[in-house]
């Protein structure tokens, strides 16, 4: 079976006054239908930019996709023109965003904003669209959904707005839903509710979901596979069990190590990764993580490692010393 999404050598650049920001560097991966992929990394690692590149919503100028192919459902969507791409957005690939407080338009009712998407991509009357919007709000668990269609976003709480965003994203039953840190701006109980909701919807509708987050806990609960990104590149990818149990990349080890755990004895110090990510304008020649890496050798500084597949394990890593690091895992 062909993968639903296949990205080959994607490069996205921002041409700013300070120089060319290399936001996404040679990213390649595939996603199968029905899969939930977690894309993990710290702020500025290119995870959001790569998702916006798939949607071709990079602000241009200054942003530009300079290289690559994005095969979605049998066609390279990077070759589509703007009109054709508009038919993909919302209908084939939907995206929900980080901050539900600012992602809904304050001057239109929630109902209108969902109906708008429905009418755009489906052949239905306004009445039908309105009914459907009510069903969708009900589906995402908003009480009194029908009445709340006429409410404005400011009359919704943060969690409800994100539910409304999800309803909007689901409205045209897209093949792929990209969720860009959808729970980051919400408090923890609401986060858990949203994650449960997405799990439930995925079970029922069999949707393919890309979940972008810096929260490894969220990913562990949801995802089947994980892409760990650092400085615009994927540095480790694989089935979730492999990543968590047999971590190969020092950065991933650092990420996992910096998570507090419930079973830690009191007084355990939180580990953090020393240093800062490299400046994306002046990326080092070698491994971008070398400067912060405890396993660094001479070779790391001189040559950049590429993703290498670990035999038969559905697990790839971009590190010169992955064999030595083998199976350290979390504490």
């Amino acid at each position: 079976m062909n993968p639903l999404l296949e990205i080959r050598n994607l490069k996205t650049r921002f041409y700013t006054q300070d120089g060319v920001v290399k936001a996404v560097n040679d990213v390649s991966y595939t996603m199968d239908s029905g899969e939930i992929l977690g894309v993990v990394g710290e702020s500025g690692c290119g995870k959001s930019v790569h998702a916006l590149s798939i949607m071709q919503l990079i602000p241009d100028p200054p942003g530009k996709i300079t290289n690559g192919e994005i095969w979605f459902d049998g066609q390279d969507i990077l070759k589509l023109n703007e009109d054709q791409m508009q038919k993909v957005r919302g209908r084939e690939i939907a995206m929900i965003f980080q901050d539900p407080m600012t992602s809904l338009n304050p001057v239109f009712t929630v109902g209108f904003q969902i109906v708008e998407a429905l009418l755009l991509h489906n052949d239905m009357t306004k009445g039908e669209a309105k009914d459907r919007a009510g069903e969708l709000l009900d589906l995402v668990g908003i009480p009194g959904a029908k009445q709340r269609l006429n409410d404005y976003p400011h009359q919704f709480s943060g969690g409800m707005r994100q539910r409304a965003m999800i309803a909007m994203g689901l409205s045209c039953e897209p093949k792929l839903l990209i969720a860009d840190e959808p729970t980051t701006a919400l408090d923890v109980t609401i986060q858990a509710q949203i994650i449960d909701l997405v799990k439930k919807l995925q079970d029922e509708m069999g949707m393919t979901i890309m979940w972008i987050t810096h929260d490894l806990g969220v990913v562990a609960e949801l995802a089947h596979t994980i892409n760990v990104m650092y400085a615009g590149s994927i540095i480790e990818t694989g089935k979730i069990r492999n990543i968590y149990k047999q971590t190969r990349h020092p950065y991933t080890i650092g990420l996992l190590g910096s998570l507090p755990r419930l079973d830690d004895p009191p007084g355990t110090e939180l580990v953090s990764i020393p240093g800062l990510p490299p400046d994306l304008v002046a990326l080092p020649e070698g491994c971008p993580f070398a400067a912060r890496c405890g396993y660094r050798i001479e070779h790391c500084i001189n040559e950049r490692p590429t993703l290498v597949e670990i035999d038969g394990q559905d697990h790839s890593v971009a590190c010169w010393r992955w064999e030595e690091i083998a199976g350290i895992g979390t504490k």
Partner: protein, 350 residues
């Protein structure tokens, strides 16, 4: 919504009373006696006193303390300001000191001319300024953007009197396409219905009158529209640029909406608030600018009339005219407040 409108009306009333007070005081604080202005430097003290008596200028400004001491309650309240307010409540703005005809009568004749000129200027400013701002914002940092922003900067900094004179030089004197002044050519008759000649001529189907009215109003309207046009264009651009960076614009695009729908549906309604504010404030600028424009183009509106009245110390005219301008300004900004609520639901539900 109705409660909101009611609140706005309540907040306008004190301002209105404040305005009458300020208008009343301004005139009294300026040195110079209208009685002397009427009779000339060499008038006798007696005749000056008689005129002051006639006009009520011998009464105290606000309250007569001496009358109160004498136990004369009516006399206590019989002051210039109270007389003024009493007349005002009967819509009587007093008589012109020089011409001895009611101010209200002249106002009825002249005000429509100013309204017509200001309204047309505002329409020109809005229908050019807003699209220019939108196009500039959506094509940021392109040649179109630079040209329109330099153009609007020139518009904002244009001295109206100079532009007016240049217009007359070019179109009236050299090219002789348009008449240099007045509202209508002599011999053109338009039946008065609204007293706005453009509309009246259209209603009565008087095409000759309409064309004549257009040719007269074109130059002053363009001159008067220049500054607001530039300000509106720049405000629209910067407001649109702000809004276009908002997250909900990205959401709208992610839904698959085309550029035009994103721009005109999702961005414009949000960007409209500051633009509407500016348009409301420009109403004041227009009325002030009308004084210059009307003088240059011999436009029979209230601007020129008030200007002459100030020079002649014709208090009732200045008071009536200024009051009217203030009311118009308050009215426009009241409408702006209502528009706010229509545009932004967050204001409506406060």
């Amino acid at each position: 919504m109705i409660r909101y409108i009611f609140q706005r009306i309540l907040s306008v009333l004190p301002t209105l009373i404040g305005v009458t007070f300020v208008i009343f005081m301004f005139q009294r604080l300026i040195p110079g006696d209208p009685a002397i202005a009427m009779l000339g430097e060499h008038a006798t003290d007696e005749s000056i006193e008689r005129i002051r008596e006639q006009l009520g200028l011998n009464r105290p400004l606000f309250l007569d303390r001496e009358a109160l001491v004498d136990g004369d309650l009516q006399g206590f309240f019989d002051s210039q300001y109270m007389r003024y307010m009493a007349r005002l409540s009967r819509l009587d703005l007093g008589d012109s000191i020089h011409r001895r005809i009611p101010v209200m009568e002249t106002l009825k004749l002249r005000f429509p001319a100013t309204v017509e000129l200001s309204l047309l200027s505002m329409i020109i400013a809005v229908i050019i300024g807003i699209p220019v701002g939108i196009v500039s914002a959506s094509r940021r940092n392109t040649a179109i953007d630079s040209i329109s922003m330099v153009g609007s900067l020139i518009g904002v900094s244009m001295p109206i009197f100079w532009l007016g004179i240049m217009e007359i030089m070019l179109f009236a004197v050299i090219l002789q396409w348009l008449p240099a002044g007045a509202r209508l050519s002599t011999g053109i008759e338009i039946e008065s219905i609204t007293n706005l000649v453009l509309i009246d001529s259209l209603i009565t189907g008087n095409m000759e009158g309409f064309v004549d009215a257009i040719s007269h109003i074109a130059m002053p309207a363009v001159a008067l529209a220049t500054i607001p046009m530039g300000i509106i264009a720049r405000m629209t651009r910067s407001s649109m640029l702000d809004v276009l960076q908002e997250d909900y614009i990205r959401t709208a695009k992610a839904k698959g909406l085309g550029g035009r729908l994103v721009l005109f549906r999702h961005a414009l309604k949000n960007a409209a608030l500051p633009v509407v504010t500016i348009i409301g404030l420009q109403a004041g600028t227009l009325l002030a600018g009308a004084v210059l424009t009307e003088t240059i183009f011999s436009w029979p509106g209230i601007g020129r009339w008030i200007y002459d009245a100030i020079l002649g110390r014709d208090y009732p005219i200045v008071q009536g005219g200024t009051l009217l301008i203030a009311i118009v300004f308050l009215g426009v900004n009241f409408l702006v407040d209502i528009l706010y609520a229509l545009l932004d639901p967050r204001i409506r539900y406060k």
